[in-house]
């Protein structure tokens, strides 16, 4: 499981996978399964010299980060350190906020610059799904919640939708609990079930990356452990990036951890190293609970 920081040679091997003919869509080519199994991860997301501003206020300073494919990466750090901001930059959710700007740097996924001129943010978000801090199912039925992503893409076939609903709910470990009340409101579920419904809704559109913004902060310990088990299952299929305030959660679920402080990336390494043997004294102070 131990991986080194991806070397330039690894990045360059990923480059030929890109299809230059269709720059607005990501290459659907999945890296060889053997790579994931053998424990050698390829870089999926490459963040370079990234500066981000809310109006005149700089929120992120010169972030350089390479995130692995089919792995769980945790972003940790005290409140206001920019970890959520960076997460929301990965599917351009920050576009929805007035006054945000990127002054420098780039983010690329499979070597496609997602802030590139001809990249459609709508297409990007179909490939990079997101689960929010507070569960937010639509005020519709469970079935409608899951099929929403497909319906807006124009899928109408009943059998196909049924199939996706079952598959997604099974994928989110929710099927057995809700299979008899698919047409009841999603708001009638418990908090943990609602959050898993949101995860099911996200995986229904089959993204490559799932961004999780403190997905368990509003859940009780039992619901939290269910979601964490789910993350373990999901990483076989998806690349997961999770923002969390819980050090234990980061240690339990993630393969790699990035520590942020005051808008800067302080340290990025294997989770084990971050928690057992951090290189930076600030990281050590934070993970040992001395500040933050």
């Amino acid at each position: 499981m131990v991986t080194v920081t991806p070397s330039p040679s690894l990045t360059s091997t990923a480059a030929p996978m890109e299809t230059p003919a269709a720059p607005t869509k990501f290459s659907v080519t999945v890296p060889p399964a053997s790579a994931a199994k053998s424990g050698v991860a390829t870089t999926l997301i490459n963040i370079e010299n990234f500066d981000f501003y809310y109006g005149a206020k700089q929120a992120l300073f010169d972030i350089n980060l390479k995130l692995d494919d089919k792995r769980v990466t945790a972003f940790i750090g005290p409140s206001g350190c920019g970890k959520s901001t960076l997460l929301r930059c990965l599917n351009r959710m920050n576009d929805l906020i007035d006054g945000t700007s990127i002054k420098r740097g780039s983010i690329s996924i499979r070597d496609v610059d997602i802030y590139g001129r001809d990249v459609d943010a709508i297409e990007l978000r179909k490939r990079v799904g997101m689960v929010f801090q507070k569960s937010n199912p639509f005020p519709k039925s469970i079935y409608e919640n899951i099929t929403y992503g497909l319906r807006i893409q124009g899928v109408k076939t009943k059998s196909r939708l049924d199939e996706v609903v079952e598959k997604s709910l099974r994928g989110a470990a929710l099927w057995d609990e809700v299979k008899d009340r698919l047409h009841e409101s999603g708001l009638g579920l418990s908090g943990g079930q609602q959050q898993r419904l949101c995860i099911a809704r996200t995986i229904a559109v089959e993204p490559e990356v799932i961004l999780m913004d403190e997905p368990c902060s509003a859940l009780d310990p039992i619901a939290t452990s269910k979601v964490e088990e789910l993350i373990h299952e999901l990483k076989k299929q998806f690349t997961i990036i999770i923002v969390t305030h819980s050090m234990q959660q980061a240690a339990r679920c993630s393969d790699k951890t990035a520590f942020f402080y005051m808008g800067k990336l302080i340290e990025y390494d294997d989770t084990r190293n971050i928690f057992m043997n951090p290189a930076n004294p600030q990281t050590e102070a934070y993970v040992s609970g001395r500040f933050g």
Partner: protein
């Protein structure tokens, strides 16, 4: 311890007793003040309701008397014949309409000269003349009897007036003068005898009319324009239907009895379902709310038809799409509309909008629009457009609130699933705020129904049920409304008269309508709170 001046053991003081006024502390006084204010609102509403009902409720007794004298004086009897005569007039009008169409066809399509066209219509005119004259025997009877019946009614009214006069004299203690006032009772039986005595004459007249009509139908000439023949066939059918009503009318007249009592519910249904609002008439006054209600309804529907897309659309745009600069511009502008006094809007309607709409309607290339061209400057459309302007701020503000209340999380979730802005608005935002939007529309409707000045100035004020059979062009007809009639007539009626009470009843009806609308709006809002969770 030994010192006698050692301080007493410290006591645990929480606070000194509060000052009280009338046994109440300051806090309680303030509470009483707020409570009192709330109570005043409730009491005022209760008083308004009470007096509205008290004034209005007496209408039904008065209206019953009104209908009773209609029967006692034989007006009802004469109206049977008059109805027959008016039905015939309607048929004649139909005939005239056919002639007009034929003439138009002859001159415009076949390019005949006017004289030539008239010549070709000669046999038709001959027939129409005979048809029109056929009713003459009944018409003669009606005009004779009208005078007799009116005379009886006048006599009765004078009798009532002298009764009131005497009571007034008695109440101020002038017994001698009161005794001098002679009341002449009306003996309806003998007074009605000349009217009822005409029944055999009527029977004869009806037979003659029937014979005349049948004779003229038999000699009905073919129309010079073939395409209009179906209208003539329809006319024949209508005439046959008309003739079929003769026995019913006769039967009604035979069993008619002036002593038959008028039940109170007749007075109620006469108001609620009455199709005529006719006041200060020499013959008989009718107080039926239907034409006013239909007018109010028509105008409100036009107003909502315009205001709903505008208000809701603007609300969606401002809340979801507009930049903050646009928001800062649009919101105050729309809200400012509600600050315009409605009389100014009405004035604008008369001077500008009505004029402009008529001018537009008379543009040749727009003739395909139903109702175009129209000649009435003031009509339901003009009033509806202006009322829409009044409803837009209400709908906009409330709908914008409702949309704003949709949690931001829904929007973010939708975007995160790859939805476009339009998909998010139409599939998530609008459904989630739908009940709020609907209640905004209902409150807009309440605003429109209650609006007075604009409709009084711009609706044309013709008291008539709009002719819905003409389809969409009904919107260009002048109408009168419930609010308009109160504002227009309340100042001119003597207090306590039946007309005065009828106007109160219209007010009560409006009150109930507003109550109903608000009730539904609140019910929907309550449901809306639950759906967001």
């Amino acid at each position: 311890m030994s010192s006698p001046s050692s301080p007493a053991a410290p006591t645990f003081v929480i606070g000194k007793a509060r000052t009280r006024m009338l046994g109440l502390t300051l806090d309680e006084c303030i509470q009483a003040f707020f409570g009192g204010n709330a109570l005043v609102a409730v009491i005022v509403l209760a008083l308004i309701t009470f007096f509205l009902f008290r004034e209005g409720a007496q209408f039904f007794n008065q209206n019953r008397d009104n209908i009773r004298i209609y029967r006692l004086a034989g007006l009802e009897y004469v109206d049977y014949m008059r109805q027959q005569q008016e039905d015939h007039t309607a048929l004649t009008r139909y005939l005239f309409d056919v002639r007009l169409r034929t003439l138009k066809h002859l001159t415009e399509v076949e390019h005949c000269s006017l004289a030539e066209a008239n010549a070709r219509l000669a046999s038709f005119d001959d027939f129409a003349g005979r048809y029109g004259d056929a009713i003459e025997p009944v018409r003669g009877l009606v005009s004779d009897l009208t005078e007799v019946a009116t005379a009886i009614k006048t006599k009765f009214t004078i009798g009532e007036d002298t009764k009131i006069q005497r009571e007034q004299l008695l109440s101020v203690g002038k017994t001698a003068e009161a005794a001098a006032v002679v009341i002449q009772p009306v003996d309806f039986k003998s007074e009605l005898a000349p009217i009822l005595g005409t029944l055999p004459a009527y029977k004869e007249a009806a037979v003659v009319v029937r014979k005349n009509l049948e004779a003229s139908l038999a000699t009905i000439p073919a129309l010079p324009v073939h395409s209009l023949q179906p209208r003539m066939d329809r006319f024949k059918q209508l005439t046959r239907d008309y003739l079929a009503t003769f026995p019913t009318t006769l039967h009604a007249m035979e069993i008619w009895d002036y002593t038959r009592p008028v039940p109170l519910w007749k007075s109620f249904t006469g108001f609620m379902l009455g199709r005529q609002w006719l006041t200060a008439s020499f013959w008989q006054d009718w107080y039926g709310i239907v034409p006013l209600f239909a007018g109010s309804l028509l105008i409100s529907m036009i107003a909502l038809f315009i205001a709903v897309p505008l208000g809701v659309g603007a609300a969606i745009y401002v809340n979801q799409i507009a930049s903050s600069t646009e928001q800062g511009l649009i919101k105050p502008t729309i809200e400012f509309i509600s600050a315009i006094p409605s009389v100014v809007l009405g004035f604008f309607g008369i001077a500008v909008l009505g004029q402009a709409l008529r001018a537009v309607s008379q543009i040749q290339s727009l003739n395909w629009i139903p109702g175009f061209p129209f000649s009435e400057r003031l009509n339901a459309l003009t009033a509806g457009c202006l009322l829409a302007l009044i409803a837009v701020p209400t709908i906009f503000t409330l709908a914008e609130d409702a949309i704003n209340n949709v949690p931001r999380a829904f929007k973010e979730a939708s975007f995160a699933l790859g939805a476009t802005r339009m998909q998010t608005i139409l599939r998530i935002i609008v459904p989630a705020s739908l009940s709020g939007i609907v209640s905004a529309i209902l409150l807009g409707l309440g605003r429109v129904i209650g609006e007075t000045m604009v409709v009084l100035l711009c609706a044309g004020n013709r008291i008539q049920i709009p002719d819905f059979s003409v389809g969409l062009s009904v919107v260009t007809q002048p109408v009168h409304t419930m609010t308009g009639i109160i504002a227009q007539e309340m100042g001119e009626v003597p207090q306590g008269s039946i007309h005065y009470r009828a106007l109160f009843m219209v007010g009560v009806a409006l009150f109930f309508l507003a109550l109903l609308i608000n009730f539904f709006a609140q019910k929907i809002v309550r449901k809306y709170r639950i759906s967001i969770g």
